[in-house]
Amino acid sequence: MFSLTDAAKLNTDALLLIFRNRFNLYGLKAIDIQAVCPVSEIIFVPQAPPFIVGAVTYRGLFFTVVDFDALILDRTASVRSENKVVLLASESAKLAIRVEDIVSLTAIEEQGHRVSSQGGGKLSQFVSSALEWKSQMVPILDTDRLINHTLETFYRFIPGAREVR
């Protein structure tokens, strides 16, 4: 496990974590990441939407684990022991996403960073820009949008869930 909150010396504004899910690469701004953990015990959350893998604990606190693929593809989440969990924080909430593999932690400035919309469909609503990395276009996910969308979908799924606080 490495904690980016501890890495104060790094300029996290300029760092991007690239991960892989089902042969696709995605980027997350390191400044939004609290920690990356191996998948240890994921606790099943009863009566949760299908894209929720469960909950993990980090420093005694529970984080909801979202299967990103399941969220954008509307399918049931799955998890394997070699997967990783990336803990994300925004102003509205904290949550974790399950990723298959961490590919790289790279500095944005050194790469050709383009602002563009990436692809279409459901993914486009989570993408803030794209990065050309090793001849591949990597969509950079917008953490706020990702978290807000997860919360909204969660509340829609649960009857009687209260308003977003």
């Binding site: 606790i43 005694g60 909430a93 869930a161």
Partner: protein, 539 residues
């Protein structure tokens, strides 16, 4: 001192004095010759005048000055204390409390804020008739206004650090929560150190165990900081009862006996409105008018009693009156007509009244007026109490009165929990939800979905199946928990039961906090976090 600090200090002191003035005025009304109270209130008004002038709140100071003048006349015997005078000063105190709220929200005080109270004081000073009683009572119409006016401040923790109850220390709730988080993390790190120490390093192990002991002590002391005296939520009740009773033309004696019980400040904050609601119901619908009481052969003065007594897992707060009571036969009749089923055990325990009154299908509008007051908002009270892990009971005797009991756990910072295993995953259930536990015994089973305990058959629910917890280790359910769900008693089939433990409660973050089947999370003494199941919602 900078302006912000001066304002904070002023608001803290002013609110403390205003609270003392309210208590003093109510005591003075009961005993108009109490020269001690007259001196005390005069002194408080004098202090309020001085400190508000110093802080630059001239209109506030003018108001305090006028109130001080009025009390000066009382002191020298030129004005007698009566209900009208007390109401005038109470109106002034309310006005000052509202001024404090405006100051706190950075709003300037204007003449409009103080004109009504100032006019009433001037009239009283010149012996002119006042409409202050009516003015004061208008406020009682709006519960929130009165709450704001009386302005209890639970952010002040009394005496726990200095050991001197007369001194108060202001502690931000966020800061306490931060300390809890920090201690939780230290505890986890300590647990990890313990694992790494091993048996081959006894000196190291000893130091870690010593550290562990200090962490526990620190945690225990921190818990006491969260505690507040229960009397804090009853401080404004005498004023509420006085004003409301006056408005309705009733005379009511209020008795409060809650001793020195303490509970978590979070619980206190949440119990405030249910208590006010129950007391309002007693005044409004429970206690009869003097004429009705005389006719019923009762003393003209009604009686409301608020008591609290400790229990094993917390305390019970009771609100009772000697009023007309609730017509139980009428409720039963309405319930039957509405097709509301009442479980057998609830009929025996008397819990059926709450069950029916809070049932969504039970319309209180169709019932007679005095009953409607009992039903309105009772479900809200029940929801709050149950959200705190407590229970609500209601007892009544027609013509003799009614009693409402709120059974509340003392702490929600720590919870007594029963960890359970569901197909290899550990969850926890609050002990307050559990009636008893059994080994799964086929002789007690009656069919696939029934469990017998004594003469009673309970519905048997496979909890893992209900929650959709898939089997990790192909374990069979082997234990049974008897729990009290809101509508019924139920037997729950689970895989494993562990020893009851005290867990440090932690609210869940979003979106888990919105999950109806989870009540929160807790850290067990081992440092292991568990999800707490909300049994009432699950069933």
């Amino acid at each position: 001192m900078d302006r912000k600090k001066l304002r904070t200090l002023f608001l803290h002191e002013a609110r403390t004095y205003l609270k003392q003035c309210t208590e003093g005025l109510l005591a003075l009304e009961r005993n108009p010759d109490d020269s001690y109270q007259i001196e005390e209130i005069f002194r408080r008004m004098h202090s309020l005048k001085g400190m508000s002038a110093l802080a630059g709140y001239t209109l506030f100071s003018d108001l305090a000055h006028a109130a001080e003048d009025l009390f000066e006349r009382i002191r020298i015997g030129r004005l007698g204390v009566n209900q009208d005078v007390v109401s005038t000063i109470l109106q002034t105190v309310d006005c000052m409390s509202l001024c404090c709220n405006r100051i706190e929200s950075n709003q300037d005080l204007t003449n409009n804020d103080v004109v009504a109270a100032m006019t009433a004081l001037t009239n009283a000073l010149h012996g002119r008739a006042n409409s202050t009683v009516a003015n004061g009572l208008e406020k009682a119409d709006d519960e929130d206004d009165l709450m704001a006016a009386v302005g209890e401040d639970l952010d002040f923790v009394q005496g726990n650090i200095t050991g001197q109850p007369e001194h108060e220390l202001s502690i931000k709730t966020d800061l306490i929560d931060y300390f809890f988080e920090a201690i939780a993390e230290i505890k986890i790190l300590n647990g990890q150190l313990l694992l790494h120490a091993g048996r081959d390093r006894p000196d190291f192990l000893r130091l870690i165990l010593e550290q562990n002991r200090f962490i526990r002590q620190l945690q225990d002391h921190l818990l006491t900081i969260r505690m507040s005296p229960l009397r804090r939520i009853t401080e404004r009740i005498p004023r509420l009862v006085r004003d409301y009773a006056m408005k309705l033309g009733k005379t009511i004696d209020l008795e409060i006996e809650i001793g020195h019980l303490e509970c978590d400040r979070l619980i206190l904050e949440r119990l405030r409105s249910p208590l006010v609601h129950l007391v309002n119901n007693c005044v409004d619908h429970g206690i009869e008018t003097p004429t009705e009481r005389k006719k019923a052969g009762k003393p003209i003065t009604g009686r409301i009693r608020i008591t609290a007594r400790p229990m094993r897992e917390g305390f019970v707060l009771m609100v009772e009156d000697d009023g007309r009571g609730i017509d139980l036969s009428l409720i039963r009749d309405r319930a039957e007509r509405a097709g509301i089923e009442v479980p057998e055990e609830k009929l025996r325990t008397g819990e059926w009244i709450v069950h029916v009154l809070c049932h969504p299908g039970f319309s209180t509008k169709e019932t007679i007026s005095h009953l409607s007051g009992r039903g309105v908002g009772l479900d809200a009270v029940k929801n709050i109490v149950e959200a705190l892990g407590g229970r609500l009971h209601l007892y009544s005797q027609m013509g003799k009165g009614a009693r409402c009991e709120l059974v509340i756990p003392t702490l929600i910072s720590t919870l007594r929990l029963l960890p359970i295993g569901l197909n290899g995953t550990m969850y926890a259930v609050p002990l307050t939800d559990i009636v008893r536990t059994f080994d799964d015994n086929p002789t007690r089973r009656s069919g696939e979905h029934c469990w017998r305990t004594g003469e009673i058959e309970l519905p048997l629910v496979d909890l893992a199946e209900r929650l959709g917890v898939k089997s990790k280790e192909n374990r069979k359910a082997g234990k049974v928990l008897i729990v009290d769900a809101p509508q019924r008693r139920v037997a729950l089939l689970v895989s494993e039961l562990f020893a009851p433990q005290e867990g440090l409660f932690r609210p869940l973050p979003l979106p888990l906090s919105q999950s109806p089947c989870l009540a929160g999370s807790a850290m067990l003494p081992s440092g292991r976090p568990v999800l707490i199941l909300n049994i009432a919602q699950i069933l």
